[in-house]
């Protein structure tokens, strides 16, 4: 299969995982979807590394796998286990309405990214709108979900999608920046984990609707 096709297929699978994540109701299931999505992204980095001749991307793919496929999902799973079974909280928007909105976001992504796809000479350019759709869906998930952990997953999806845009549009950003970004995200997730515990301890739930004291 030619390079462009493989990249496209992986981009498509990547976005599919975003959709599967938002329709899942169990936190453990959401974490699993995130891990699979990160795995797909690591594979994409490997593909770009071998076809695009960017050897340092193998290293990036390795670090990425360690952080986003192994460490972060483990941290999140540990959190899920420690906070125990969660009452199902209805999101601000129901599942079918969410899917409709996300479909609209995909269309918007294709329109918004036309200047990039139109000008990018790289064979991977066709996947960029899919990655940008991932950005929008991640953003949307963070804003509309009520469980703290799902919000964090939304942020992580957003982060993944941006990494993918860089991968598809320019074969990644310089190594030092990439590593710095990974480190920031890892620390952010570790801190967020602490906050999820504290929210659970203080409010006996991780529904962020209870975080509504500060107003005006």
């Amino acid at each position: 299969m030619p390079f462009g096709k493989i990249a496209n297929l992986l981009s498509f699978l990547f976005l599919l995982m975003s959709f599967l994540l938002i329709v899942r109701n169990s936190l453990a299931g959401q974490v699993r979807m995130f891990a699979v999505q990160s795995g797909i992204l690591a594979a994409l980095a490997g593909v770009v590394a071998s076809f695009g001749g960017r050897l340092e991307l193998f290293g990036v793919a390795g670090v990425f796998t360690i952080i986003k496929v192994i460490v972060i999902p483990n941290v999140l799973n540990r959190t899920v286990a420690r906070i125990g079974m969660q009452r199902a909280v209805a999101p601000y928007l129901g599942t079918s309405a969410t899917l409709v909105v996300c479909a609209v976001l995909v269309v918007i992504a294709f329109t918004a990214m036309s200047p990039i796809t139109g000008s990018d000479p790289l064979p991977t350019a066709d996947g960029i709108p899919l990655a940008f759709a991932g950005v929008l869906i991640g953003l949307f998930t963070t804003v509309t979900r009520r469980r703290a952990l799902t919000q964090i997953l939304g942020f992580l999806m957003l982060e993944n999608s941006i990494f993918m845009i860089a991968l598809l549009a320019t074969y990644g950003v310089p190594l030092i920046v990439e590593i710095g970004v990974f480190l920031d995200v890892l620390v952010a997730v570790l801190i967020l984990e602490v906050f999820v515990y504290r929210i659970k301890q203080n409010f006996d739930s991780i529904d962020v609707k209870q975080l509504g004291v500060l107003r005006g």
Binding site: P115, A169, D184, L192, L214
Partner: protein, 484 residues
């Protein structure tokens, strides 16, 4: 090399404090590091000013604009750092030593990330450092460890991280535009400026919108400001002072770097229009919350949204005067707001409430705090003879000169509304009879002494603009492509 030293000071201090077991040593290391950073910062500024060249070493690079920021960070950092020792001693006893240590250690880490952000040439590394500022401050916001602090810290971390992720996407697009011209550009700002004329304008415009939303979140521009009033009001006073006085300026700094590139590639009108819209919206929104604010720390926080908006308007009006006014206003706001937030710490220690309703007779109950607070507020709302009056005047004059009359007129009107709203609130705090039982005594006195410098500088900037300063600011403007 001097830049390495500048970054090493807070870095080493943070590590040392994290290891010490004695409270006095932690405090001493903290104050020494702040003063050392101030001295080295002054050397960096002097070197750049006298040699008229930039200082660079590997990834690190400082030009006049960096020097300008280093000045704000190290000066306000030192003033706040000294007050912080008194505040921490009053708030946390020896049983809470671990929390005290965490405070000093993260304080230094916070200074380090800000200094790093403004002294690197690599826009990706700058992003990493700015995200680092969020990570360093999030536990500080929740230092008191209560319900509202937790709420504020969680919102702060998730909203800032999402916002700044959007800025990273903008950075990637900027990189994309640059790689099309120079394949090994490596996200260097200097290289980007050099090829800016040849970049694809459509992509640079797209990138700038993401950058503006992303770093605008960090700078507190409406409507991305929603985390700000919570975080700035829940954090302990010294941290609020640094976040409002300095951190917002770091967000604006990032915007200025990208605006310089966008101006060359896409013409000045594009970035200007967006900055003016966000700026005016910030003014309008904060005016709404400032007319009848019930909490004095939230009042100061919303006022930061207002002043970020004014700076954004100045940058948006553009030209020599608009941008010069924006720079001056960044300095003035840093001086006035850091001072007021520190004083709010004193008020909290005295009255144990953040409700404006609960504060009566401040001038009688805590005279030093009260009179300083009065002067600070008068400066902040733009009364002569203080600096903010001059910088706001220059900004709006720039607006008229650049024919953005509608924005300038609306802006002035909103500033007047905020003036009245804040004055009414503060009035009720200063006068009347203090709640019984009271005695005339300031909770912290010697830690307030450095604030005299803030006040003096605010006065000086309101009365004169020395030639050497004007020359320095003109060079700062030149680095971002603005000249008379």
């Amino acid at each position: 090399m001097i830049l390495i030293l500048l970054l090493l000071i807070p870095g080493v201090a943070s590590a040392l404090i994290a290891r010490t077991e004695k409270r006095s040593i932690a405090a001493l290391t903290h104050v020494c590091a702040n003063l050392a950073a101030l001295i080295v910062g002054a050397i960096v500024i002097g070197q750049i000013y006298l040699s008229q060249r930039e200082v660079s070493w590997n990834l690190l690079r400082a030009d006049s604009l960096s020097a300008f920021m280093v000045g704000i960070i190290t000066f306000v950092g030192a003033i706040v750092g000294i007050y912080a020792v008194g505040y921490v001693n009053a708030e946390f006893d020896d049983t809470q030593f671990r929390r005290v240590r965490l405070f000093y250690s993260l304080f230094q880490l916070f200074i380090l990330t800000m200094l790093f952000a403004v002294t690197t040439d690599n826009l990706g590394v700058m992003w990493v450092a700015i995200e680092g500022t969020t990570l360093a401050t999030v536990f500080l916001v929740n230092l008191h460890d209560n319900h509202t602090g937790l709420e504020a810290a969680y919102k702060y971390l998730i909203l800032s991280s999402v916002g700044i992720a959007v800025a990273f996407m903008g950075t990637v697009f900027m990189y994309y535009a640059a790689v099309a011209q120079v394949s090994d550009i490596g996200l260097s700002w200097t290289a980007l400026i050099a090829v800016a004329g040849r970049l694809d304008p459509t992509i640079v415009k797209l990138a700038f919108v993401f950058i503006l939303i992303g770093y605008g979140t960090k700078a507190g521009l409406a409507p991305m400001h929603t985390w700000l009033p919570d975080a700035h009001s829940e954090a302990p006073a010294p941290i609020s002072a640094l976040m409002s006085g300095v951190l917002l300026n770091v967000g604006l700094y990032a915007l200025m770097r990208f605006k310089a590139v966008t101006d060359i590639t896409a013409g000045q009108a594009f970035a200007s229009a967006w900055l003016m819209r966000f700026g005016l919206l910030s003014l309008a929104l904060s005016a709404g919350f400032l007319i009848s604010q019930r909490n004095y720390k939230r009042m100061l926080a919303y006022s930061s949204v207002e002043h970020t908006g004014i700076v954004a308007l100045g940058l948006g009006f553009g030209g020599y005067w608009g941008t010069l006014g924006a720079l001056l206003h960044m300095v003035n706001h840093a001086l006035a707001k850091s001072m007021l937030f520190l004083l709010s710490g004193n008020i909290l220690l005295k009255y144990r409430t953040t409700e404006i309703r609960g504060i009566r007779g401040l001038l009688r109950a805590a005279p030093w705090t009260g009179y300083a607070f009065l002067c600070g507020i008068l400066a902040l709302i733009g009364l002569p003879p203080f600096g903010p009056f001059v910088s706001e005047f220059i900004i709006f004059r720039g607006g008229f000169a650049m024919h953005s009359t509608a924005y300038a007129v609306t802006g002035v009107a909103l500033v007047a509304v905020i003036f009245a709203g804040m004055l009414a609130s503060v009035n009720s705090m200063l006068y009347g009879a203090p709640p019984e039982p009271w005695q005339s005594r300031d909770p912290l006195r010697w830690p307030l002494a450095p604030l005299a410098l803030n006040l003096l500088l605010l006065l000086a900037l309101g009365l004169t603009l020395p030639n050497s300063l004007r020359e320095f600011l003109s060079r700062v403007l030149k680095t971002i492509g603005v000249s008379l």
